[in-house]
């Protein structure tokens, strides 16, 4: 029997969260974490038996960082599943089709602007990223489309071409804005440069809007798998649906990219594993990919923080190292499309 999809994915996610909070330069055991949370949030009178430094590590670094990675993974997993459904293409992924780079370009542009206040800059960052993402998806889609189909080859090629363009534009912008160079560069390497809860809060509204819309569009994505023509004959207003899905997936991607940089392959791997185990029904595929994307990114982030400790690797390197071979495997498998 197949394991229960939601229970298993939730269990994995909880495990990933606990590990992500605990693992780092200093290990904080889960039980201590639980007691610290109980003391801080619920006001239990627990006598602290942990070093004082733990409090600031936990509440100022680990928890917000874990929350940020959790949200970014969820956005990438969910939007990856949605792009795959929309293009009816197993290799669509926010990174591979250039949306992530587009969002990155938008975000870099925003970072080079001198905002009157830091919070304003932070809350408009995802909006700029969203603009970049929309621009890229429009360009890539119209380049990749042949008749009514979006073949893998043209989709990936258009994605690569646009990524190359967006990346060089990013470099150009960063070289011009000398003073802001460091800020943008660290961000680009896939690091959450902005510590604390502010980026989490800035990301949340965009992310919720995008992912909730995708969950609502799940049935429509199922119908779309039979082709646009049949979908329309089954009563779906497809132009509206396509716009809605593209908008929602792009806003979720943009929210993730704006605060964690360009991270590849999460949106490819998570939906595929879910699809392999639990089948193609998007009403479950989307929520499960959201959960799976979170777990995957948390795990990758943990590796990034521990492999060369005390040095921290950009998490994008870890996801690419694990994801690229997976991509090649799907590329070979996609020819038969037995489970697609």
């Amino acid at each position: 029997m197949k394991p229960h999809p939601y229970l298993l994915n939730l269990a994995l996610l909880v495990l990933a969260i606990l590990l992500s909070i605990g693992v780092g330069a200093v290990f904080i055991p889960p039980t201590t974490v639980a007691r610290m949370l109980a003391a801080r949030l619920a006001g239990f009178a627990i006598v602290p038996d942990w070093p004082e430094s733990f409090a600031s590590i936990l509440f100022k670094i680990r928890l917000p960082h874990t929350a940020l990675m959790l949200l970014a993974g969820a956005a990438l997993g969910g939007s990856g599943a949605a792009y795959q459904g929309l293009f009816r293409n197993p290799l669509a992924d926010p990174y591979l089709i250039g949306v992530a780079s587009g969002a990155g370009l938008g975000a870099v542009f925003a970072l080079t602007i001198r905002w009157p206040s830091e919070m304003l800059g932070m809350y408009t960052l995802p909006a700029f990223a969203f603009f970049g993402a929309t621009l890229s998806i429009t360009v890539v889609y119209s380049l990749a489309r042949i008749g009514r189909a979006v073949p893998t080859t043209t989709l990936i090629l258009a994605g690569i071409a646009f990524s190359a363009f967006a990346t060089s534009m990013m470099s150009f912008l960063m070289l011009r804005a000398n003073t802001e160079l460091r800020r943008a560069l660290t961000w680009l390497l896939g690091g959450a440069i902005m510590a604390g809860w502010k980026p989490v809060l800035a990301m949340l509204p965009y992310e919720l809007l995008g992912l909730a819309t995708l969950v609502i569009c799940a049935h429509a994505l199922n119908v779309l798998q039979f082709g646009e023509e049949q979908a329309q004959q089954l009563g779906l207003p497809i132009e509206r649906i396509k716009l809605l899905v593209i908008g929602a997936a792009s806003i979720a991607t943009a929210a993730a990219v704006a605060f964690t940089g360009v991270i590849g392959f999460i949106g490819l791997v998570a939906p595929h594993v879910v699809r392999l185990v639990w089948g193609p029904d998007y009403r479950h595929l989307i929520p499960l990919s959201i959960l799976g994307g979170s777990s995957a990114l948390l795990a990758a982030d943990m590796l990034a923080r521990t492999v060369l400790a005390p040095q921290t690797l950009p998490v994008g390197i870890v996801t690419a190292l694990a994801g690229a071979p997976f991509f090649l495997w799907i590329l070979r498998r996609a020819r038969t499309q037995a489970y697609w």
């Binding site: 049935h219 199922n222 119908v223 039979f226 009563g235 779906l236 037995a338």
Partner: protein
């Protein structure tokens, strides 16, 4: 009663369907035949709203279908497409349930009436025992029946079929068309189907529309339309039409053996046509 009235469809600047007019009473089958590329599939696409029409009306019991939203139209008209490039991982039950799309909400949560409709449609098409199989594992004939079940689950009054028998063997061809005929009579459906095979059209349809270059060349009962004169001028090959030994309907045989045909043409037995 489905009235198609001077339906005209353009693809860019080119008129691909011109002034099509036909009437199909409920419970009857109209077969659209004609050479490749005369616009038979375009007709299905235009009637189902995928291809916008330039002018003309499609009236079903007083309602103009061309003015309806996709969801409203899908409740009145269902399409059985050709079974190719289906997403193979969906189960038969999931696939048939998609026929309920015009009745389901955004989240696609099926209620009791939806499950009943799906069950009934699968019963009628003998696909119940395939319910948990994946669509990709099925044979062409089975896939075509599943698509028919999906269309029936739509609870529509009009059924459009686009070359439903193209990739089927003899047994599955006649099984499928007998099923369509039975359903048309039992459920009082109005059926329009595009067929390649003239003999199948002759046997199973109440009316035949013979199309050429986006227009209707002839329309009426099979015996009126499927004459050797009509067919020779449309298909540009000599044909022999004889009555079916059992049912008396026209039976079409090619008369195109290379040497024999040209001799006949020379002798003036078959009217000469410009190719």
């Amino acid at each position: 009663m489905l009235n198609i009235d001077s339906l005209t469809v353009a693809c860019g600047n080119r008129i691909v369907l011109e002034d099509l007019t036909m009437t199909i009473p409920p419970g009857e089958i109209l077969a659209v035949v004609g050479p490749n590329g005369v616009g038979k599939s375009t007709l299905v696409r235009a009637l189902s709203g995928v291809q916008p029409s330039l002018r003309g009306q499609v009236i079903l019991d007083g309602r103009d279908l061309t003015r309806l939203s996709p969801m409203q139209r899908a409740r009145l008209m269902a399409v059985v497409p050709q079974a190719r490039e289906l997403p193979g991982a969906y189960t038969v039950y999931q696939t048939v349930m998609l026929g309920r799309t015009p009745y389901l909400g955004w989240l696609g949560n099926a209620g009791r009436s939806d499950h009943t409709a799906v069950h009934q449609a699968m019963e009628q098409t003998h696909t119940l025992d395939l319910a948990e199989r994946c669509v990709g594992e099925l044979s062409g004939g089975e896939q075509q029946r599943v698509l028919l079940a999906r269309a029936l689950a739509q609870d529509a009054l009009v059924l459009l079929l686009d070359e439903p028998t193209t990739h089927l063997d003899l047994q599955h061809q006649s099984n499928l068309l007998n099923l369509v005929r039975k359903l048309a009579q039992e459920k009082n459906l109005t059926v329009l189907m595009v067929l390649h095979d003239l003999n199948l059209a002759s046997l199973y349809a109440d009316q035949v529309a013979l199309m050429v270059a986006g227009r209707i060349h002839a329309i009426g009962q099979p015996s009126e339309v499927l004459t050797s004169e009509n067919l020779t001028s449309v298909y540009h090959v000599p044909v022999i039409v004889i009555p079916h030994p059992e049912y008396g309907k026209p039976l079409i045989l090619p008369d195109g053996l290379v040497g024999a045909a040209s001799k006949k043409l020379q002798a003036g037995i078959v009217p000469k046509v410009d190719v």
